[in-house]
């Protein structure tokens, strides 16, 4: 690789690992901290933008690509307090942005659970937040974006862009260029939330509660994963309550979940550990009630999950997340319950959400109920087999997978699950004709 003549070019070799620890590779990493350094690599050098590296899957690195670490591009460029438009660089962490905005009476209503996810990453993955049925996905906040393409420089794009580049960039997994900045539409946050717990006996009942509460600010379910209690749980319904007095909450950056969590030497999520954790959470949450919660706490629930993720050990974890259409969900849930009783997989966590949007490209959206399952990385064949059984069940019930979470997906699976997969791939290739952009994730799923 040449390019060292550009003053300030910083390049390193580093071993990078995905958050779920299923992929790691030694790759080149560039750390541009000035705009001219975006052009410092040779124009034909394969690359992929990288934010904090908090993606579950290897979305920001690949063996053949230089990762462009965008964390220096983290500046707030303009804030219109009247209209609620924020222009911000792509490397800004969503947690920092929310921390800045909340005291001013604004916030981004759609934020992933990890506070270190960057704005660029949220766009490239078209992430969802605490209630996608109410808020949609991140693209719904996006007014404009700026993209850097080697050899062509910086492009400003908005939703009226007729080339398709704007649309391809939202949820485009970084294949259309390096996102450098974005203008986002903010919302007024509730001062506090009243978080109500609604008990459910199974997943079918959970779906009904989710549909009834679809307009809540925060809406997600936790479900017991033990075969004998499979699916019973609690739906957290967060409603705006300006009268509520939330307990004092430390929202300082030092509480943020790190992008990389040092794993414990061994996984705690064996059958005994999972049974204990489910019993404890059932005891804690399976009680009807209401508690006041600060918005800052509700936005980033993963901040309390450091030990939970460390407990997957060095082998890491896998997240399976599929969205099942409403009319198929009850049958899917029943079949899944049977499957779990039969195969008895080790599932550390099950959560549910409701979606009510339109699926664009490969983004995780549509109309239905999503289930996310966290499983310790498998060492036994039955655990492997469960991945396939789960995916087959989901496909049989019209499900749609989340490529940005699930490291078990491959091209064949996506082609079966997403009808227009080949058209989506062709559209992404149209904006990446020289295959200049690519990651381990995009290689695995055949983009």
């Amino acid at each position: 690789m040449s390019g060292t003549e550009v003053r300030g070019l910083a390049l390193a070799r580093a071993r990078l690992s995905s958050f779920d620890r299923q992929f790691s590779a030694e790759v080149g990493v560039q750390q541009p901290d000035r705009y001219r350094l975006l052009d410092a690599l040779p124009a034909d050098q394969a690359r992929i933008a990288r934010g904090s590296g908090a993606s579950y899957v290897a979305a920001s690195f690949g063996a053949q690509s230089v990762s462009i670490d965008m964390r220096s591009f983290n500046r707030l460029l303009a804030l219109d307090m009247r209209t609620g438009l924020l222009c911000v660089e792509a490397g800004a962490c969503i947690g920092d942005v929310q921390r800045f905005l909340l005291p001013l009476g604004w916030y981004l209503p759609i934020a992933p659970g990890h506070p270190r996810a960057t704005i660029g990453g949220c766009i490239a993955a078209d992430v969802h937040g605490k209630n996608p049925a109410r808020d949609g996905t991140f693209r719904s906040l996006l007014e404009e974006l700026q993209l850097h393409v080697p050899g062509h420089g910086l492009f400003n794009l908005d939703a009226r862009d007729s080339s398709g580049l704007f649309a391809a960039t939202c949820g485009g997994l970084g294949l259309s260029g390096t996102i450098t900045r974005a203008t986002l539409r903010l919302s007024r946050p509730p001062r506090a939330l009243a978080l109500r717990r609604v008990l459910v006996d199974d997943l079918a009942q959970a779906a009904r509660v989710l549909r009834e509460a679809a307009n809540a600010h925060v809406l997600y379910g936790w479900h017991d994963s033990r075969p004998e209690h499979f699916g019973r749980g609690v739906i957290h319904v967060g409603l705006s309550d300006d009268e509520a007095i939330a307990p004092a909450f430390d929202a300082s950056p030092r509480r943020d979940l790190p992008a990389h969590i040092a794993p414990w030497p061994l996984s705690v999520w064996n059958r005994g550990g999972i049974a204990l954790a489910n019993a404890w959470l059932s005891q804690r949450w399976r009680r009807p009630g209401i508690e006041a919660m600060a918005m800052a706490k509700a936005l980033f629930p993963l901040n309390d999950a450091r030990r939970y993720f460390a407990a997957f050990g060095r082998a890491g974890m896998v997240e399976l997340q599929w969205l099942i259409p409403h009319d198929q969900f009850e049958a899917f849930a029943a079949a899944l319950g049977e499957c779990v009783k039969r195969s008895r997989p080790r599932i550390a966590l099950i959560s549910s959400k409701i979606f009510d949007g339109l699926a664009h490209g490969l983004a995780f959206n549509g109309r239905g109920i999503s289930l996310a399952l966290h499983l310790p990385a498998p060492r036994e064949i039955p655990q492997y087999a469960f991945y396939e059984q789960f995916a087959e069940l989901a496909i049989a019930h019209g499900g749609r997978p989340n490529p940005i979470k699930d490291s078990t997906l491959d091209e064949a699976m996506l082609r079966r699950a997403i009808g227009p997969f080949d058209a989506i791939r062709a559209e992404l290739a149209r904006h990446n004709p020289e295959r200049l952009f690519g990651s381990e994730l995009t290689r695995r799923i055949g983009l």
């Binding site: 300030g8 901290d33 591009f73 460029l77």
Partner: protein, 243 residues
Amino acid sequence: MTVVVVGASSGLGRTLAGELARRGHGLLLVASDLRDLHAVAADLQVRHDITVSTLALDLAGEPDPGARIRAALVGLPALSALLLPVGVSRGDDDFSLSAARIGELLAINLHAPLAIVHALLPDLRDSRGSVVLFGSIASARGRGRNVVYASAKRALDCLYESLRQTHAPDALHVQLYRLGFLATNLTYGMKLPLAASQPADIARVVVARLGKGSFAHHLPRQYGLIAWLMRRLPWSLYRRWRG
């Protein structure tokens, strides 16, 4: 009052600008690329609601950077401090550089600080302000690497002494920080013998001491001991050292 930060778009300069803005100082930020300057200035204005002016200046090719900065200060509140966290090093600065490359390194690391200090000295004297220079541990003793860079940084020690020798302690505060390894683009990807310090930690110290006398310090402080040991290493041993 206005503080001038030269090299404000990246590394320590950007962090210093942020720390100064946090404490409410008005700023004139100088760096080579207007795009970066606009981004830094906008961020500081949005976050801290302060007055920030910018000047795009390529120190490698500007014959009189001091005059350009002085012109940019016209109309701004009086100058209270000049911070010069400028510096660039090269991996091939090992007696293999061309004359043009040597000139570029000297222009940024030495000519620019000298010329800017010369031009702004009258204003700084008027306000009994501060000049803050940034040296490097690399200049503790000459080696076969960073030849030009270390020479230029060593020369800043001379500039520091000249300023102090010329000005009474209450007329001008002259501060020289000889920096250890910093986690910036200058050291990114390098295997360093000691952990690099965070620019934010350095910036907090530097800004807190603005206007508080004249001195030359190593930062972090342990580099003072390292420099002392390096200088006292017998030549017969030192010349064999390739670390």
